[in-house]
Symmetry: C2
Subunit: 430 residues, 2 copies
């Protein structure tokens, strides 16, 4: 067995022991980790400075460099996050459903960790602690593959987590790091040992992983989000939502990339256009909208289905809401799409018919986010339709088990002309 197979196999065995301990012990490990990060802060900062120096020398962009940097203040924030996870409810064993099947025959569906997760991320070493913390809380094992540029920092952070586990007599094999790219290819083939892959990075990276593995992948390759200005949109609100959706954080996956405009709204489009132009946005307008958008340029075919990730916005005219919805189903990535309208029945129809993970009325597409949704720590945003969809919190790392407690009952005693099941739903409270 290769070293990597053994690592994954050991992670699975350790995870099973880890999930079976009481919640208190996982909580204690989270608190230990926060303490350890403070104690080992100098070591972490030194490793990070070495990573940053090397990255700077190799010409990493300023944006990526600022993501890579881990200073005392960022570490403090990570520790706060760990304490907040320590205070949050432990999901392992949470009762989802309880049914009395018959006298002394009770079925309980409980939450249970998925098992072994492979997390692939770029640049930000903070992710090691954020994801490691989620694993500690949820009873999962994680194999972490970070970016090469953060190698030294990541190694120290993983060793901090393993120290926290050891201090609490918990198996350190549940949080492990791997370094080289070749390992990723090998791990992506281990669909027997790894249950879920969570890639956090560029669309190209996510797509490559989706195409290279039969392990389920939680995430999204693209965020092509549309804002539809209905005939009955309020022009002032439309401008506000378009500017926020495009400009608040242009490289985010929930940024607005396409403005769909009902033909009847075109005469009032000038305020929206002027606001966007004033905010520095390049507008790529189709034929019908171009005359209403001074300063816009003519769109090409790719506009309307492109994730720009910068201050560029496609504008497309539609003759009806049907056409808007068709456009979304054809060109959007099923991430987040929004309607602006004062017409309640139009809003209801849009919310009912648009088949995207998040569908909004009179709100910025930028709200599609685990923190904003109140899910606590965010695992990722999924555009898949299986397991979890949209912003995913810690529940996305859980599956369930069915526990049946009996008194010697046999199945052959039930059926037509024999005993009947009661199937009484009980409270899930203890």
């Amino acid at each position: 067995m290769s070293e990597l197979s053994l690592l994954a196999k050991n992670a699975r065995a350790a995870q099973r022991r880890f999930a079976a301990v009481s919640a208190d012990r996982r909580t204690a490990a989270l608190r230990s980790l926060a303490e350890i990060l403070k104690h080992r802060m100098a070591e972490i900062v030194t490793a990070n400075e070495q990573d940053c120096a090397q990255a700077e020398a190799s010409g990493l962009s300023d944006v990526l460099l600022s993501r890579l940097r881990l200073n005392a203040k960022k570490i403090e924030t990570l520790c706060e996050g760990l304490h907040s996870l320590a205070e949050s409810e432990d999901p392992v064993g949470r009762v989802m459903r309880r049914t009395t099947l018959d006298d002394d025959l009770t079925l309980t569906q409980v939450q249970s960790p998925i098992g072994v997760l492979l997390i692939i991320f770029e640049s930000r070493p903070d992710a090691v602690i954020q994801i490691g913390g989620l694993a500690l809380r949820s009873g999962n094992a994680v194999i972490l593959k970070g970016g090469r540029e953060a190698k030294k920092t990541n190694a120290v952070l993983v060793s901090c987590i393993q120290q926290a586990l050891q201090e609490q007599q918990l198996p350190p094999e549940v949080v492990v790091g791997v370094e080289d790219r070749a390992s990723v290819s090998a791990l992506l083939a281990m669909d027997e040992s790894i249950d879920l892959v969570i890639p956090r990075g560029s669309g190209a990276m996510v797509r490559h992983i989706q195409e290279s593995t039969r392990i389920p992948v939680l995430g999204h390759a693209e965020g092509v989000c549309a804002l539809y200005l209905d005939a009955a949109a309020d022009p002032v609100m439309a401008a506000k939502l378009a500017v926020d959706g495009k400009c608040d954080y242009p490289s985010a996956c929930n940024a607005t990339e396409t403005l769909l405009v009902h033909a009847d709204f075109l005469p009032t489009l000038d305020h929206v256009g002027a606001s966007l132009i004033a905010a520095g946005v390049q507008l790529r307008a189709d034929k019908s909208s171009l005359p209403h958008l001074p300063g816009a340029v003519a769109a090409t075919d790719a506009d309307g289905s492109t994730e720009y990730g910068e201050l560029t916005l496609a504008v497309r005219t539609v003759a009806s809401m049907d056409e808007a919805i068709d456009h979304i189903h054809t060109h959007s990535s099923g991430h987040t799409d929004a309607i602006v309208t004062q017409d309640q029945s139009a809003a209801d129809r849009f919310l009912n018919e648009v088949d995207s993970a998040s569908v909004f009325h009179n709100a910025s597409t930028r709200f599609a986010d685990g923190y904003r949704y109140g899910l606590g720590a965010e695992v990722g945003i999924s555009t898949g339709r299986i397991h979890a969809r949209g912003p995913v919190g810690v529940e996305g790392l859980m599956t369930t088990r069915w526990l049946l407690r009996g008194a010697g009952q046999v199945a052959s005693a039930y059926g037509p002309g024999k005993k009947a099941f009661v199937h009484r739903t009980e409270s899930t409270e203890d």
Copy 2:
């Protein structure tokens, strides 16, 4: 675009329209279908007789022939099933979670159909109506690939479903049949158009499908279930549960295949052994248990991890519960495993530590079943850890969407030093 790509693409488009109509209309289609099956009964029975005659001539086994046969009585039962689905709650749009993010900013997570399902099944044409009915109830589209031997019957049944849809002015493209095997290979490559594959058939068939597609597969290739007789097991109960687990329906996936026996229980194993032998079971016993099981044969290495599907049972001795749990984690298929014991703390430990989809105390492994669990119609039993696990009801055909209703809020207004989110959990009742 190939004919099959078009079929899948049309199914997706039709499914979106179908999911957006009111629940009443899906209910009406279910009731129409029951009427149509009665009206067209002669046609169905004739097609089925032709299929049966051909299958008999080609030497199909009696067991498969009886599964293939569809008579008036079976059709009545199918109609009852449809009426019961018509009366059940429509899952589309059911509110799973409601959160107030701020004044006039409300987030709702609603159930939504997964989309396009590919169902591959063998022999039983009843499955067309059962699965078609589930699709009508849940707003999904299904592409059905049945067994070649049921070709004529399946074609009539699919046309009945399409007629029911048309009678209710609903798109008939949401339920379609395909016939040849080559279609299946082509469809399994369409991970853009098909969201979930549900194979219902032999383990070999399921394994082949799992290995040939990147589309998520819901199901199980194997059911290797263990019954663990703890040191503190009641011998009479142990015998009852072993006989029911093995003999009630030996070819079922939830049948017991392995008996794990604590060494301390060996002296009292004779009653269990005698009961199984009396029920016609061949026992394949390991060295330690063999002397306690008159009539048993010596086990080989494969025994203990084999799904026999017949009246054969492996017997393995373990020195401790740890060893029993290790055996299960190594050799069982994670489907259903049970402990027999009068020791409550041993039972609690087993239920807490065994990482299988269903884990039982003092109950037959045969209870692992959607109907017995009270889930209504069963979609399948999943040994996967993603999306759904164990017996899966109609909820396994659903995903969710997040709907946000606002009044023009922008994300940039929230954050440190700015507005704060309320994140108040609201009742999910209307």
